[in-house]
């Protein structure tokens, strides 16, 4: 028995060295460092208490990127989930050209976000991009979706939906394949139409998947900022900046590491709340067998 413990700990130790060093310990030191000032030149870092948090509350950019992030989540998640569900239902049915359909839907998932953003830049470029080429034919004026504060975030959202829907489709596809055909058959014999079957049988059975995908999508919406670098750089005037992008700017452009740590604490708190929500929302047996 004692020997088993030692074996187990020896087996775990290499993985835990790295897990602790790059996930758990930094999560804790982030909190600690948010209570100090940033060392600058000859001035060393000193205890700051909650000063950084006061700065944060008074920082209009922080509130801007936080609300952007919430709008970004609200704007991308329900849409991409609805599209993903439609995709999965279509691929699951034996429609003509099913292989092509699946390929078309899933391909964006394989591409790097940086490449995706480059491709979409070509659509958005004012005057020259595909969108303006098309609207120009109808005599409409030039658009500048990514350059306008009120539309920049929408432009970024469209790219995100395009990239993510195919990924979420996979989860639905997997779930659809576990629904026994006899259930659908029974409903059909009872005289239910396709819409009723979807609403009363398929959709409720997919509920755990929808929850799982939603959580994933929310986490992604706080984690995925690669495309911002290419599309807008967070601009104009932070109109399309997200929380993690702002953390990057504060830490690696303004080198204010203490304030960046403070912002990271907020991000960690949001993810922590999500974890708690997930814990209470889920019947965990559904996913973790």
């Amino acid at each position: 028995m004692q020997r088993n413990w030692i074996h187990a700990w020896l087996l775990l130790s290499p993985a835990f060295v790295f897990l602790l060093a790059f996930t758990h310990i930094p999560a804790v030191t982030t909190l600690w460092n948010s209570l100090f000032t940033t060392p600058r030149g000859r001035r060393p870092s000193r205890w700051a208490g909650l000063e950084n948090y006061e700065t944060l509350i008074a920082d209009p950019i922080f509130w801007k990127v936080l609300s952007n992030n919430i709008w970004f989540a609200l704007g991308t998640i329900p849409t991409s989930i609805a599209i993903a569900l439609a995709m999965a239902l279509w691929v699951n049915e034996k429609l003509a050209g099913r292989g092509f359909l699946r390929m078309a839907y899933f391909t964006p998932t394989v591409l790097p976000m940086i490449a995706v953003a480059n491709i979409w830049m070509f659509f958005y470029t004012p005057g020259f991009g595909l969108i303006d080429q098309i609207t120009g034919r109808f005599g409409l004026p030039q658009s500048n979706i990514l350059g306008q504060p009120d539309t920049a975030l929408w432009g970024v959202m469209a790219v995100t939906i395009w990239k993510e829907a195919g990924f979420f489709m996979i989860f639905y596809l997997a779930a659809l394949q576990t629904i026994p055909p006899s259930l659908i058959e029974a409903a059909r014999i009872e005289g239910a139409g396709p819409w009723t079957i979807f609403r009363r049988v398929t959709f409720p059975l997919l509920m755990p998947t929808t929850l799982f995908v939603s959580i994933n999508a929310v986490v992604n919406s706080f984690r995925m900022v690669d495309h911002i670098f290419i599309l807008t750089g967070g601009g104009p005037d932070n109109a399309s900046s997200l929380l993690l992008f702002y953390i990057y700017e504060v830490a690696f452009r303004f080198w204010d590491t203490a304030y960046a740590a403070t912002l990271t604490v907020i991000l960690l708190a949001i993810l922590g709340l999500l974890a708690i929500g997930q814990f209470f929302l889920f019947d965990r047996k559904v996913h973790y067998r």
Binding site: N4, A8, F16, F22, P112, F122, A165, F222, I247, A260
Partner: protein
């Protein structure tokens, strides 16, 4: 009658969405393989060319970037396989004090990934003197909570009888892992490998932060630098570069489509 109408509508909807979805990529392919003059002019008989690829290849050290990415994803994959296998084996086979707490710590990493702890991890990497090395990009990722979790789930389904039989034959602890558990988990390794390679091939933010030279930059960072030099680089050349950097993954995906989709499914469900 109504049923076949629904079917027709479904077919039209599915194809319309698929065409809409493939359009951006198709457009990138079109511009990359045609001279710059045809960037926005559609002519079925426009001359095909590989010149854009040649220009992109010469304009930036993409060969080096590819090598860096290749070394990076291989190193991460090997690290994840070894560390993940050992840890998953411990969780799946042994009872030991602290097991639940340690497993909870593994699960924490599903939510709090190194991706978001950029400030502190940069500090650590700098303290280790690893800034601007490929190792710096790789080490935060080589212990993956997701990988450990996935492999543990697979290892748990290994029949106890097999393990006991091996024990009676006098196999050592590591022998049982290598001869019994690992062979039974090959499909999981494949699935996880595909997901991991495509994830780290595409990763951008962290490599951007810790690299600053041609010798260490992966293709994603190289591409972003290439595309941001806005003066003089033609769109068709940028699109060629974009396709080039995603090319290996894209071709692998088109060839092994079924395996890819199944891998993502397998990795997603468990």
């Amino acid at each position: 009658m109504t049923l076949s109408l629904t079917r027709a509508l479904n077919l039209i909807g599915a194809w319309a969405l698929a065409l809409l979805w493939i359009l951006p990529l198709a457009y990138a392919v079109w511009t990359a393989f045609h001279p710059a003059a045809y960037e926005a002019r559609f002519d079925l008989f426009a001359p095909l060319t590989l010149e854009n690829f040649a220009k992109a290849w010469e304009a930036a050290p993409f060969a080096r970037y590819f090598l860096n990415t290749f070394v990076l994803v291989t190193a991460i994959l090997i690290g994840q396989f070894i560390l993940g296998t050992l840890a998953a084996y411990a969780f799946a086979r042994f009872e030991f004090p602290g097991r639940n707490i340690l497993f909870a710590l593994v699960l924490v990493q599903l939510l709090v990934m190194p991706d978001i702890l950029i400030v502190e991890n940069y500090r650590t990497i700098r303290a280790l003197g690893l800034i601007d090395t490929i190792g710096a990009i790789a080490i935060p990722y080589i212990a993956s909570g997701f990988g450990i979790f996935l492999l543990r789930q697979t290892f748990m389904s290994v029949p106890k009888e097999l393990v006991e039989a091996a024990q009676i034959e006098g196999m050592s602890t590591l022998g049982i892992l290598l001869k019994v558990y690992v062979p039974l988990a090959v499909p999981t390794y494949l699935a996880y490998g595909l997901v991991s390679v495509s994830h780290h091939w595409n990763n951008f933010l962290w490599p951007l932060i810790v690299t600053n030279s041609v010798e260490t930059r992966p293709v994603t960072v190289g591409l972003s630098i290439f595309a941001s030099i806005d003066s003089g680089v033609e769109w068709s050349v940028i699109n060629a570069a974009t396709l080039m950097t995603s090319g290996p993954l894209l071709i692998a995906f088109l060839l092994f489509q079924r395996q890819f989709v199944q891998s993502f499914m397998r990795a997603g469900i468990k």
